[in-house]
C-alpha cells in the first residue's frame, strides 16, 4: 500500500528522524493560512507540494515555491485540482523552503536476491534513483543489514563515508540510516526512501550559519501482508486516489486491478490471471482488468467479482477462466448463473472451467446456455471475437 508523503514523514518523525515541519492543506484558504504560519516563523519562502501517490510531481509542475502567503495561495490554485499522471491533486503539503547545500538519496528496500534488507545511498540525490541506476550505477552504494542483528552502526558509517559525508555530519547520517531501518521494521514497510536527504544551511538570529542533514521528502510503501498487525496504518490508505472498485474488491477478498481495455477477465490464481490477460492481448484484444478470485472461491465471491467487472462501462465481453484445484468448478458455475440472473446489462461471455468438478460445471453451464471453451487459447480467441462483434 502506498501512502502520501505527509504520512510517510509522520512515520519517519516517529522514529526520531529530522523532518522539517509541514502542514497539509486541501483548500486555498488552508494553503494561505499554513503558509502564513511558516512566514511568521521566519521563513523567507515556502514550498507547496502536490500530495499524490505517483512519482514525477516536480516535473509535472506539482511542486512550487512562494514568497508570501498570498503567492502561496496563487501557486496552490495552480496545483490543487491539477492532473498528475491521471490523478487529480486534492491536497498539498506546505512547508518552509530549505536553503539546500547538497542533496543525497537514502533508501531501504527488501532485496529479493540477497533476501535481506538493503540500504542504498547516493550523492546524486533529488533525482529519480532509477535514473541514477541507469546512468551512473557506480554512484549508488549499498549495505545489507544482517538478517538477525539488523543494520549495524559500522555499516551505516560505511554508507555515509561512501557518499562523502564526514564529521560533523557523519554521525547524524548514521542516526538517520538507523532510523530509516527502524521505520521499515516498525511499520512492515517494503520500501522507505528519503530523496532528497539534504544538507541545509540554517542561519541563527546572530547570523551564524550551521549545516544540518534533514529529510526533505519521504516515500514509504507498506507490505500488504503486514497490514493486519498494524490496524492504525489502515487509516493512511488514501481513498481519494483509489479506484472506487478497489475498496469493493478488498471487501470481497479478491485481487482486482482496473485496466483500459474492453474484455473483462475473471480467473483463479494470480499467474493464470496475468496469463489470461496476456493471451487476450496476444489474440488481438485488450484486457479490461486483472482479477484473481483467489483459491476456493464461493459463489458469492463470483457474483461480487462479476459486479465489479460489469461496473466498468467499457467492458463489452467477459472471459471466465477457472482451473479448479481448491476451487470447485461447479461452485463457480453456480455463481455465474446467479450473477447473470441479477446483472443490469447483457454482455457476451465465454466460460472455461477445467479441473475440480469440471464435468458438473459443464452440465450447469450448458443447461444455462453459456458459451463455453475447453482450452485457454480457445477461450481467449472467442472472447476477443465476442468483443469485436460487440464493438460493431
Amino acid at each position: 500500500m502506498k501512502i502520501q508523503e505527509a504520512d510517510a514523514k509522520s512515520l519517519l518523525l516517529a522514529q526520531g528522524l529530522p523532518v522539517p515541519p509541514w502542514k497539509v492543506a486541501r483548500t486555498l484558504a488552508e494553503v494561505e493560512a499554513a503558509a502564513r504560519i511558516f512566514f511568521d516563523g521566519g521563513a523567507e519562502r515556502v514550498v507547496v507540494k502536490a500530495q499524490v501517490l505517483v512519482g514525477g510531481r516536480g516535473k509535472a509542475g506539482g511542486v512550487k515555491l512562494a514568497g508570501s502567503p498570498v503567492e502561496a495561495a496563487e501557486v496552490g490554485s495552480k496545483i490543487l485540482g491539477m492532473d498528475i499522471k491521471g490523478i487529480t491533486v486534492r491536497k498539498v503539503l506546505v512547508g518552509a523552503a530549505a536553503e539546500i547545500v547538497k542533496e543525497y538519496y537514502l533508501g531501504a528496500i527488501i532485496d529479493r536476491a540477497s533476501r535481506r534488507i538493503v540500504l542504498m545511498a547516493s550523492s546524486e540525490g533529488g533525482v529519480e534513483i532509477e535514473e541514477v541506476a541507469r546512468q551512473n550505477p557506480g554512484a549508488i552504494h549499498r549495505v545489507s543489514a544482517d538478517p538477525e542483528l539488523g543494520l549495524l552502526a559500522f555499516q551505516a558509517r560505511a554508507l555515509g563515508l561512501a557518499i562523502g559525508l564526514r564529521d560533523p555530519l557523519l554521525n547524524p547520517f548514521v542516526a538517520i540510516a538507523e532510523g530509516l531501518y527502524e521505520a521499515m521494521k516498525a511499520n512492515d514497510a517494503d520500501l522507505v526512501e528519503v530523496n532528497p536527504l539534504a544538507i541545509v544551511a540554517e542561519t541563527a538570529a546572530d547570523g551564524a550559519t550551521t549545516h544540518r542533514l534533514v529529510c526533505l521528502d519521504a516515500k514509504l510503501t507498506l507490505d500488504d501482508s503486514g497490514l493486519a498487525r498494524h490496524p492504525e496504518l489502515e487509516a493512511l490508505r488514501d481513498l481519494d486516489e483509489e479506484d472506487p472498485t478497489d475498496a469493493q474488491a478488498r471487501r470481497l477478498g479478491i485481487n482486482f486491478i482496473h485496466l483500459d481495455g474492453t474484455i473483462g477477465c475473471m480467473v483463479n490464481g494470480a499467474g493464470l490471471a496475468m496469463t489470461t490477460m496476456d493471451l487476450v492481448k496476444h489474440y488481438g484484444g485488450e484486457p479490461a482488468n486483472f482479477l484473481d478470485v483467489g483459491g476456493g472461491a464461493r459463489r458469492e465471491t463470483v457474483r461480487g467479482a462479476m459486479e465489479l467487472i460489469l461496473a466498468d462501462p467499457k467492458v463489452n465481453a467477459i472471459l471466465v477462466n477457472i482451473f479448479g484445484g481448491i476451487t470447485r468448478g461447479d461452485e463457480v458455475a453456480a455463481g455465474l448463473i446467479e450473477a447473470r440472473a441479477r446483472q443490469s446489462r447483457e454482455v457476451p461471455m465465454v466460460v472455461r472451467i477445467v479441473g475440480t468438478n469440471a464435468a458438473e460445471a459443464a452440465r450447469l453451464l450448458t443447461e444455462a446456455r453459456f458459451e463455453t471453451a475447453t482450452s485457454l487459447d480457445q477461450a481467449a480467441e472467442k472472447a476477443v471475437a465476442l468483443a469485436k462483434g460487440a464493438a460493431r
Partner: protein
Amino acid sequence: MSILVGRETRLVVQGITGREGEFHTRAAIAYGTKVVAGTRPGKGGQTAIDGTVPIFDTVAEAAKQAGANASVIYIPASGAPDAILEAIDAGIETIVCITEGIPALDMIPVVEAARRAGARLIGPNCPGVTSPGRAKVGIIPASIHKPGRAGVVSRSGTLTYEAVQAMTDAGIGQSTCVGIGGDPIIGTTFLDVLKLFRDDPETDAIVMIGEIGGAAEEEAAAFAAEHLKGVPMAAFIAGRTAPPGRRMGHAGAIISGGSGTAAEKIAALEAAGVRVADSPTQLPKLLIEAGYRP
C-alpha cells in the same frame, strides 16, 4: 529418483486438523504419499484422517517417533514463520510452506535460519511439490500429472496446473513439479531448483514458469546458458500486459522502477537459448523443438 520429494519422503503435516490441512492430507495419502504424522499442539496422542495418522504436539516428536523427514505447513500467516522454525529445529530436511500472506520482513530471518541449518525450505505462498507416481506434498491436483522425465519449476499455482496439464495431454510426463512461490522472499529459487534438476539423473528436460517482478528468471537464464547446455528447456513468463507499479496478486509480482518486466525476462531466457512460449499450451511443442524425446 526425482527431486525434493519421492518414495523416501516421510511427511509430517503441520496443521493437520485445520480445514485445508485435513483436505490436502487426504489427497496426498490417496496419491500414495507416506504421511507419517501430523502436528497440533495440545492434541498429541490423538489421531487424524479417520484414525490413520498419529498427531504429535511438536515436530520434534514427529521426527523422533514417526521418522518424519519432510514437512508441509498449512498454518495461518501469523503462525507460519514459527512453524517453519520449529521444523528446522527438529532437523526436518525438506519444508514446504503453503501459507500465503506472511509479511516479507518475517521471512528474512526464517530463510536465513533454514540456510544455516542446511534445511530446504520451499515457499511460502506456494502450491507445493509433486513427484508424479511417488509423492505429492501440497495442493497441486493429482489428476494433472503423469510420471516422466521433464522437471517443472514455477512461481505460480494454477498457471502451473495449466502448463502441467498441457504436458500430460501431450504425453510428456514429469519427474518433479516444484512450485517455488509467489512471494518476494522465498526459501528456494529458480536457480536452486535448476541445480537440483541438473544433478537429477531422472530429469532430462526442464520447463520454467516465471512472472514479472524481481530478477530470479534472469539469474536462472544465466545459469542455464552456462550449466544446462544440451538440456531441452522451455519457459513461459506471465505478465506481458501487466501495468508497472501494481502488484499483480502475488506479493512478488510487481514491475518496480521499470525493472522486472516480462520483456526483460523473455529476452534473457532467449539469449540463453531457452525457448519462450506465448501461451502455456505451447510448452510441450517447444520442448520437442528443443530436442526432447519423451
